[in-house]
């Protein structure tokens, strides 16, 4: 049984599918791209759920679909048991007050012609929060909260460093006092020394405001630092789910194992220690392999793996793995 079924749930998805139609440049034929292909997950309030995977695994599309920035193909998203896809446009707007997003590149997500004060005031105005003097006060408090000197409120985004711009992006997400924040590669564009500052800030904010994060990242060490639970995705589907501690101690799915082994170890004395490097490329989400999507690269694949996609097994309490190796 999922450890969270009994507890309160802030957000859950049920067999969520987001497919895109793309046109093959060769023959003009329409093809389906299975970006998210049947994802079921749930997040408890105050939890940080990490979503890990390589490019094309669907982690960003999942984050965007949860916010209804993409339309689903089938399945559902529930915010506090309210079906997000059955909500009226007005209600969706209201829901966005509760669910916000932080993007990878704060430079392209901030209007370069607006001053910080107006960038941060805008979400408050759009959601009709407070009068002008309230809002000005809130903008200054927000800046201070994310570690920006309020005296810089009249500056433009380009006058800040990358790390400071991400602080603006975080302040903007916090402005409407959300409960859940989808962080999509929120620290990936930052240099390590600044990345550490922003990760600490996100952890502090989570503590202070009891926020819930859906934390999407390709970087395992970042997710290990911040997340309480981790979902590993491969070609649109969840292949493994566990608490961060369990997953790091013992990855079960062969893909998770391959991913873990591929990460460079920060210790030159451990280099090349019988590293098993998975061969081949990630197949295209346009034409995913029949059966388990990882089977063509998997050292343990059998005929069964190549024929049918595995169901989710629970080899240990609280651990879910979509792999035939764990089927009885």
């Amino acid at each position: 049984m999922n450890a969270h079924e009994s507890k309160e749930i802030i957000l859950r998805t049920k067999d969520l599918k987001t497919h895109f139609t793309v046109v093959n440049p060769k023959d003009g034929q329409k093809q389906k791209l299975y970006a998210v292909d049947g994802v079921t997950l749930s997040i408890a309030p105050g939890e940080i759920l990490g979503i890990v995977g390589e490019s094309g695994c669907g982690k960003s599309t999942l984050g965007r679909t949860v916010l209804r920035l993409e339309e689903r193909t089938s399945g559902d998203v529930y915010f506090r048991e309210e079906n997000v896809f059955e909500a009226t446009p007005e209600r969706v707007n209201e829901l966005r007050k509760h669910v916000q997003m932080i993007f990878q590149d704060p430079y392209s997500s901030l209007n370069p012609r607006k001053r910080v004060s107006s960038l941060l005031e805008q979400p408050l105005r759009l959601h009709s929060i407070g009068d002008l003097s309230d809002r000005i006060q809130r903008v200054e408090a927000l800046m201070a909260e994310v570690g920006l000197d309020p005296k810089f409120r009249t500056r433009f985004p380009h006058q800040f460093s990358g790390g400071q711009r991400q602080r603006i992006g975080i302040a903007r997400a916090l402005a409407v006092d959300p409960e859940l924040i989808v962080c999509d590669e929120a620290v990936s564009a930052l240099d390590v020394s600044v990345q550490a500052q922003i990760l600490n800030l996100l952890a502090d904010l989570q503590d202070r405001r009891n926020l819930t994060y859906l934390f999407i990242s390709h970087d395992l060490s970042v997710v290990e630092f911040i997340a309480t639970r981790v979902v590993v995705m491969y070609l649109g589907r969840i292949v493994e789910e566990a608490t961060t501690k369990d997953l790091m101690a013992k990855p079960l799915h062969p893909y998770t194992q391959a991913l873990f082994e591929a990460y460079p170890v920060i210790d030159p004395r451990k280099r090349g220690v019988t590293k098993r490097i998975v061969s081949g490329d990630v197949p295209s989400p346009i034409d995913p392999p029949k059966g388990c999507h990882f089977a063509p690269r998997c050292p343990f694949a059998t005929d069964r793996c190549r024929e049918a996609y595995p169901p989710t097994f629970e080899p240990e309490v609280g651990r879910n793995v979509a792999c035939w190796l764990f089927g009885k």
């Binding site: 990358g162 550490a196 990760l199 630092f225």
Partner: protein, 330 residues
């Protein structure tokens, strides 16, 4: 000790911008021996790529200008030789691969003929021999089904495959001496990065060429480097053998960089990462002192006045820091 293959001495590079003169490289020196892998590591804007591009004189001029120093390759100063001679060297003894191979490959020619072009330009090979050699190079970089891939265009290949083609191109000369790899795996997924790093290691052993690896990723450094030069804001602040850098990081910046990594288990007790406070200085207004002074926990008055001379900690470990001298060196 052997004569180094490449020796950079007091290199200085400026860029003129609308806002003023950026002194991007402020006196950088390091050397690479034959067959060795030197990682030039640092964060964005530290000048690691500018340094690499200076070696092959690929700095766009203007706005860039190499204002001082020497770059000796097998004893010849690359900054002094005429352009045609340099062009010969670039194709034969020194090669470069970049982060995004798509921008370095010609999109309208099949990859096989692009490799053949290099061979036909830099050797006296006949066409049929060049074709055979190009095929064997694709095999060498482990491209599956090389005969079929020979006729593929760059856009038909995945990112990892394109980077393999770039490496094949770099190896197309009869006698490669130095490969400069500028963030070669940064755009790749981690499972593909592992494949490319393993390939580079394997090829270095087979061919015996030296590798100058430009990277921001300390993990990649730990995986492949023999020696490391750490750059910060236009200066090398620490240089040494890879084990010394990771086991006895001595410049406060190197230490900070290693401690701030989320893969460093330091945070497990405090629950917070050990971040370096502040951000990199503005290269236009930055003065003559140590560029790390405004973020350094060990800063002292002299740090802001002049950049320190190097202190040798060990036979192959140097650090440019005033705070080092007073610590006993064992």
């Amino acid at each position: 000790m052997d004569e180094p293959l490449l020796s950079i001495q007091d290199l200085k590079v400026d860029f003129s911008t609308n806002r003023g003169l950026v002194r991007a490289i402020r006196g950088v020196s390091f050397a690479i021996r034959k067959g060795e892998t030197l990682a030039l590591v640092g964060e964005s804007g530290c000048g690691k790529s500018v340094t690499a591009h200076s070696i092959t004189r690929l700095i766009p001029t203007p706005p860039g200008r190499i204002t001082g120093g020497k770059i000796l390759f097998e004893g010849v100063d690359l900054l002094q030789i005429p352009e045609p001679k340099l062009r010969d060297l670039r194709g034969s003894r020194i090669s470069m691969i970049f982060q995004e191979p798509m921008t370095s490959l010609n999109p309208v020619f099949p990859i096989g003929s692009q490799i053949m072009d290099v061979l036909l330009t830099h050797t006296k090979m006949k066409k049929v021999d060049a074709r055979a050699k190009a095929l064997s190079l694709l095999e060498l970089v482990k491209i599956p089904a090389p005969e079929r891939r020979f006729k593929s265009y760059p856009h038909q290949l995945s990112g990892g495959m394109r980077q393999r083609v770039m490496i094949a191109l770099a190896l197309a000369s009869p006698n490669p001496g130095l490969m400069i790899a500028d963030e070669p795996t940064t755009a790749l997924d981690v499972t593909i990065q592992a494949q490319i790093l393993a390939l580079l290691e394997d090829l270095k052993e087979k061919i015996g060429m030296a590798l100058l690896l430009i990277t921001h990723d300390m993990g990649v450094v730990a995986e492949v480097a023999d020696r490391v030069a750490v750059m910060y804001a236009g200066r090398v602040v620490e240089e040494g053998e890879v084990f010394r850098i990771f086991e006895n990081p001595s410049h406060p910046y190197t230490r900070g960089l290693l401690e701030s990594l989320p893969s460093n288990p330091l945070y497990k007790e405090t629950k917070r990462l050990k971040a370096i406070p502040g951000s990199v200085p503005d290269m236009i207004t930055l003065g003559e002192g140590c560029p790390f002074a405004n973020r350094c926990p060990l800063v002292r008055p002299e740090c802001t006045l002049a950049f320190p001379e190097p202190t040798t900690l060990d036979t192959d470990h140097k650090v440019w820091c005033y705070a080092i001298e007073e610590e006993p060196v064992l």
